[in-house]
């Protein structure tokens, strides 16, 4: 069970909005890079995000580039998970690989600032502020195993291989 507060955005939050190409030169400097997370969508994000907060989006969250720095800067800012109506494929895989849960659910029922409780195993999100109870799409088993190990790096460190769940 993970708890956190919702920071809400609309549709089409692209990887450029999450971390702009103009900060390309900071990509190997994580402490500086993370200061620019979501800057072009919301310049106040980095000052108000708290550890464990959920970033809540609409349709096609994370569209665009394969830059893994997009989920990385969210994680480095303490984001505990991402909730959206739909998520672009590469972003989805990247976030799970970094151990950052991505849950696909009807985010219309979540408001900015709401307290959320996520039951990863049970597949539910409870909005403790307004009482809404949402179910999210099943995370594929292969990804759940990666997520449960904390990401693909700890997974491969442990198993020295990649295999499908039997």
């Amino acid at each position: 069970m993970i708890k956190g507060r919702a920071i809400k955005y609309g549709d089409n939050i692209s990887t450029d909005l999450i971390i702009a190409g103009r900060y390309f030169h900071l990509r190997s400097n994580f402490p500086e890079l993370k200061k620019h997370a979501l800057e072009d969508a919301d310049p106040t994000f980095v000052t108000r995000v708290r550890s464990g907060d959920f970033v809540v989006g609409g349709q096609n969250f994370g569209l665009g580039s394969s830059r893994e720095h997009a989920p990385l800067v969210l994680k480095l800012n303490g984001v505990g998970g991402i909730l959206a109506k739909s998520v672009a494929r590469i972003f989805y895989r990247n976030a799970i690989n970094l151990g950052l849960p991505v849950l696909i659910c009807d985010t219309d029922r979540i408001n900015e600032g709401d307290e959320l409780e996520v039951d990863l195993a049970g597949g539910t999100v409870t909005d403790l502020t307004n009482g809404a109870r949402l179910t999210f799409g099943k995370i594929p088993d292969v990804m759940l195993r990666i997520l449960n190990e904390g990401g693909l790096i700890p997974y491969v460190k442990k198993y020295r291989d990649i295999a499908l769940p039997s």
Binding site: D40, N60, S66, R67, A88, V156
Partner: protein, 417 residues
């Protein structure tokens, strides 16, 4: 069971009779990263304790995003990549050699292969009948370490193109039309499979443009059949032995079929700030542009430059409109030079920058000012894409871009052809 092209390639490479929705583990025929994704890829690889890569012959690094480096931080990222390739025996394509996706098509990709690149436009190689897809740094690091990864076999959307393009209408207009039609998430988690008489008549360069933009509809891969055109391309590049035919089986199952009669299309533009915000060029007439960019992995191949040069020959750019041309690779650059295209661009008042990705992703060599508008032959127009969140990027074919550079405003190329 009748199979799509995606099902065929993933079945063949995984050794499992796979259908859409199945998960497979498959060896990867080519894996690559750039100076954009490479430093994090290397960091993740080392984090797991792997010191080298599973197969250096199937691995490549490209220095194309900061080419040449405009900042010391990026120069130091290049140092990380150069040291890694030296230690691991992996080939490196240096600054100035070209955009990774163009070089993958020129020198590496073959039909039926499974290709993974740490860049979203890695789908480009699907134009040669490969299953090519983009992944992030950690996935790519593990492909480099293990030589394989997991794939979910995607459902496919069949895109059937019929008819002949009218004057001034090109592959870029057709794929922008498709993205406008199905939406920027219309193919998420799926493959786009292009077929029909129009695709059969396309050159490999045109097919690469189709495949390249697949990701802008969310697609995992964009695949064109492999046929006599593919064979001719491979033979000309010394890879004739790598040719194998590829087509979907009759009766293969698709999640959706989209028919496009290209003879009815007109020149199209994607407006800011999403690629599916598509309109006919005529609706944008009169939109002033301060910069025209002809470049990127989408539309900067020799035949794109030929089309633009034919429009710009003997003309001048509008005095208020800059024209920047970036050939996709060194080879393209040299061919365009020999054919006189670069001279035409320069006499028209344009400038030529070295092959690379810089302007397209907002790194360098073409960052826009506040309130400025760019019409570009590239693939993305997201807010901030060309380096400034206060600017506006429109996407079009090279022909529309060239015609607009002369007029200083978005212009239908049919007016000048």
């Amino acid at each position: 069971m009748a199979k799509t092209m995606a099902e065929k390639i993933l079945s063949d490479r995984s050794g499992v009779d796979a259908k859409a929705g199945d998960l497979v583990i498959a060896p990867v025929d080519l894996v690559f990263a750039t100076d954009s994704s490479g430093p994090l890829t290397i960091r993740q690889l080392r984090e797991t304790g792997f010191q080298g890569v599973a197969d250096p012959r199937r691995t490549v690094f490209f220095l194309d995003h900061a080419a040449p480096s405009p900042r010391l931080e990026l120069s130091n990222d290049h140092v990380i990549v150069r040291e890694f390739v030296r230690q691991s025996g992996v080939p490196l394509r240096e600054v100035g050699e070209g955009i990774c996706h163009q070089l993958v098509a020129e020198d590496y990709a073959n039909p039926g292969e499974l290709i993974v690149g740490a860049d979203s436009h890695s789908v480009t190689a699907g134009g040669l009948g490969a299953f090519a897809t983009g992944m992030g740094a950690t996935d790519v690091a593990m492909v480099m370490a293990l030589g394989k990864t997991w794939f979910r076999v995607p459902e496919s959307i069949q895109v059937v193109c019929r008819g002949t393009f009218g004057k001034g209408v090109y592959t870029k207009d057709a794929i922008l039309y498709l993205i406008g039609h199905i939406g920027a998430d219309g193919a998420t988690y799926q493959a786009l499979e292009f077929t029909g008489e129009t695709v059969a008549a396309m050159t490999v360069a045109q097919r690469l443009t189709l495949a390249n933009l697949s990701v802008e509809a969310g697609a995992k891969a964009g695949i064109c059949p492999s046929d006599g055109v593919t064979r001719g391309f491979l033979e000309a590049r010394g890879r004739g032995a790598k040719y194998r035919p590829l087509a979907a089986d009759a009766g293969a199952r698709y999640s959706r079929v989209v028919d496009i009669d290209v003879s009815r299309l007109e020149p199209m533009v994607a407006r800011p700030h999403t690629v599916d915000n598509v309109a006919p060029v005529r609706e944008l007439k009169g939109t002033r542009v301060q910069q025209v960019f002809i470049g990127s992995c989408t539309n900067a191949r020799l035949e794109d430059l030929e089309i633009a040069a034919a429009i710009l020959k003997g003309k001048k750019r509008h005095p208020d409109t800059r024209l920047i041309v970036v050939p996709a690779s060194k080879e393209t650059f040299m061919q365009a030079m020999k054919k006189g295209y670069l001279e035409i661009f320069m006499e028209a008042g344009g400038l030529i920058a070295p092959p690379g990705c810089g302007a397209c992703f907002g790194g360098h060599l073409g960052i826009l000012g506040d309130g400025e508008v760019c019409l570009s032959s590239q693939n993305r127009n997201f807010k901030g894409r060309m380096g400034n969140p206060e600017s506006f990027v429109y996407l079009s074919s090279p022909a529309t871009a060239a015609a607009s550079a002369i007029a200083g405003e978005i212009t239908d190329p049919r007016e000048v052809l």
